[in-house]
């Protein structure tokens, strides 16, 4: 059974000038994780806001747990959990206060709300910080508390909008651990992200969106095949280029490319760090000193390049320019 169905969603802003969603359709099988992957401004947040009843689409249909999002938003709110990009908890209140308050708003009794708050604090390793105001929390702790608040009554469908954006690597790892636990518990999850790696780690299926449309769908393996695996890159002095090219091709088993200006030799590899080690050993044996060496994982940009032929970065750069301009105005 499909827990989430979105059909032909259209949403425009600014009197139709900005098309946020352009006939977007997707669905999530019950008990699975769908990751909506796309760059900033692709329509990820708009999709989540419509499915979680915060925004009405201009046209299209959507159901969550079989309930019509547009006709019956009150019923939808009873079965969903939402945790957004910005940690939406009261900063002045303590973690405990927040969870008890939200528990009461989910119509738990006073005692139940307290019990549930303590359970969730324990589960998300926040017991120690429970009595501290949220504003003293780290970014990762805030996100965990925010997530906890969306799990007070076990939701049938959980929406996580960019749960790790802005977190440091450690915070991201922690958050992934927490989400993986949830997934094991069998929740139906729709997760948006800008990071291919995150989608890879957490999702059963990935929907890549761009300009308000789903442009590709599939498991991460399927998408990765479209993109290619890891690439090994070596930079050497110019007199060693030819020999290095030979070594890299031998070890990777693929033809290698050469950027003469940068003296950069690159080749796809399937064995990852083992290949890297082999190459370094072989270079060393040949008396060649590598100036730079590394493994490059396929990034969202690579996915985009492979799927759309244009680079996601362009969009980001454009947005950065705009946000800079806005800042300057202020």
């Amino acid at each position: 059974m499909k827990s989430v169905i979105a059909e032909d969603l259209v949403k425009t802003y600014d009197k139709g000038n900005v098309k946020a969603l352009d006939h977007l359709s997707l669905d999530v099988e019950e008990g699975t994780v769908l990751s909506v992957l796309g760059p900033n401004g692709a329509g990820k947040t708009t999709t989540v806001r419509i499915l979680s009843t915060l925004l009405r689409p201009d046209s299209g249909r959507a159901t969550v747990a079989g309930i019509d999002v547009i006709k019956d938003p009150d019923k939808v709110r009873e079965v969903i959990g939402l945790s957004g990009q910005y940690a939406a908890v009261d900063e002045i209140l303590t973690g405990y206060d927040n969870l008890v308050m939200f528990g009461r708003l989910y119509h738990l009794g006073k005692k139940q709300a307290v019990v549930r708050a303590n359970e969730l604090l324990e589960r998300f390793s926040l017991t120690e910080a429970a009595k501290r105001p949220i504003k003293t929390y780290s970014g990762g702790m805030r996100r965990r508390l925010d997530l906890a608040a969306s799990l007070i009554v076990k939701p049938k469908v959980l929406f996580l909008d960019e749960p790790t954006t802005g977190l440091d690597p450690r915070g991201r790892q922690e958050m992934w651990g927490v989400i993986q636990e949830l997934v094991k518990g069998g929740v139906t999850l729709l997760l948006t992200t800008q990071y291919l790696e995150e989608a890879d780690q957490l999702a059963d299926e990935i929907a890549v969106i761009d300009n308000g449309k789903v442009i590709a769908r599939g498991t991460s393996d399927v998408l990765k095949k479209q993109v290619g695996g890891e690439r090994l890159e070596v930079v050497v002095e110019s007199q060693h280029v030819a020999k290095t090219l030979e070594i890299v091709e031998k070890i990777s088993g693929h033809s290698a490319s050469l950027d003469e200006g940068l003296r950069l030799i690159a080749s796809p590899v399937s064995t990852g760090s083992a290949a890297l080690f082999e190459v370094l050993k072989a270079l060393d044996a040949a008396g060649i000193h590598a100036l730079d060496v590394g493994l490059k994982r396929p990034s969202l940009d690579d996915v985009f390049l492979a799927l759309t032929g244009h680079v996601a970065e362009e969009k980001k750069a454009e947005e950065e320019k705009t946000s800079k301009r806005v800042k300057e105005k202020k």
């Binding site: 939406a88 908890v89 209140l93 009461r104 105001p133």
Partner: protein
Amino acid sequence: MSAFQDTMVITQRQLRLLTRVPEVLLFSTIQPIMFVLLFRYVFGGSIDTGQPGGYVQLLMPGIFVQTVAFTLAGTASGLAEDMKKGLIDRFRSLPISQSALVVGRTLGDSLLNIVVLFAMGITGWLVGWRPSGGAFNVFLGFAFLLGFGYALSWIGAFVGLSAKDFRVVQNVSFLVTFPLTFLSNAFAPTTGMPRPLQYFAEWNPVSTMVAACRELFGLENQFGATAGSFPSENPLITSLIYMVLIMAVFVPLSVRKYRKAAG
């Protein structure tokens, strides 16, 4: 029933915020107390009211009304901040009554008013304010003040939920409330103002509220504008009409805004 419960939870949140940041309560009380003392001793000496008890009798209702009028700014900036932090989104994704958040917030802000008015009343008493309208009328006067503050709080709710930037909200609210409280009979007679301003002052809800409180606190309103007009003759009923009108317009507007708040 659950709508009522939801609202109470939000109001409790308001009160808890006060216990977590006692400075808010402290400063929202200190400012009006400071006004009482400043006006009492700076202007009190030079304005002759020709009435027993002096300027402070006329001043207190004025400062009470001014203080509750600032509820508008409080509600507005509180909600604007909730918007900015994404809290409104969270509340809107919960299975709670669509009016709970705004009703709870406005009620919480009114409860704060009770504390502030109490502290001001005590201060006033200490510097010579003696209401003489009888216990019931004095009580009614305070009920009027709370009602007025509550009505204005709904304008604040609308402003706060409509705001694009929460820093603007505080400025806008003060820009509106400050002249409103001074273009009135609150602190000085309106008869010295230019004619058009006099008419404005006369119909200004702040003036009718101040006049109503003066009446209930047992003194004649000598700062009234052009005598013989409906608002200055019937300040109680006019104030009541204003409150009902404000609520009739801004309660539905604010609730609608909340439902559609796009963050």
